[in-house]
Symmetry: C2
Subunit: 179 residues, 2 copies
Amino acid sequence: MRAFSFITQNPGKVAELQAKAHEFGLEIVHVNASYPELQADTLEEVVRHGLSYCKEKFPPLFIIEDSGLFIDDLHGFPGPYSSYVNKTIGNSGVVKLIGEGRPARFESAIGSYCRDFKLFHGRVEGRIVSSRGHRGFGFDPIFEYEGRTFAEMTVAEKNALSHRSKAAELFLEWASTII
Amino acid sequence: MRAFSFITQNPGKVAELQAKAHEFGLEIVHVNASYPELQADTLEEVVRHGLSYCKEKFPPLFIIEDSGLFIDDLHGFPGPYSSYVNKTIGNSGVVKLIGEGRPARFESAIGSYCRDFKLFHGRVEGRIVSSRGHRGFGFDPIFEYEGRTFAEMTVAEKNALSHRSKAAELFLEWASTII
């Protein structure tokens, strides 16, 4: 079974991808390391910069991932800065800014390095609500999809429809054809 | 007269420093270029990363600068992401989050490269108010210092007390002794 390294400090993301990878006859190995994350308006720029850095430090094949919550009514805020915004103003801060019921989407970008860089994108559309549920992490409790927040879903339910799982499927389909 | 390059895409910052530099017998030359800005919780990390990058591209002597608005009640938000936050949720978003009258401070970090890296910090304490005044840029209209917002001050008045001018003075004092 061929393996990709997943360079991240978030073991939760690795577990999510590992489950899916086995369906494609691939293995994901966790490399617990960090790389500089760029200040940029898009996930794609953050991931491309991370790939360039990691290419000098790690052998192929590897992947990195970045994700964020995008609210069009706030010009995309908090976007690539979701992690920082979550730990400073929190879920309540975002609800205060935008109010309940407004549309939002989670986006994920997976970047892979094999012979060259390749990016895979996933997204899921929902709306902002007051915090409900205790599972997941980050903005999951205030992101509602078809009546339930991500924090009200089991890991399996969330993984079946999340932005990251959609990007992961595109990556794994491609990876299973080339190695 | 010895000269330092100021690597920035903001000519306003250059003009501010040039006026002060002449008092110290130094010259500031504008290099209109950008460098990768890191996602980090402190200005110092952003500046140190920028210096490392610029060192490979530009000859000494040069400086870079980063600044931000820090609100302790919001765990430092928006901090090093002030520019992004300003263009997405804007001044009104910050007032909505924190309310009027709460303390805030502007911070500036100037990083210089001569034989090695050296950093200079400046800060000014004030409070958040509803938008007043039309001068300046960014969060100036909602940052009140001794009864007036930064956007209600002339450039000269603001420069006499701003976070950036304090960092600039420390830098210029040092620079005038070494070259």
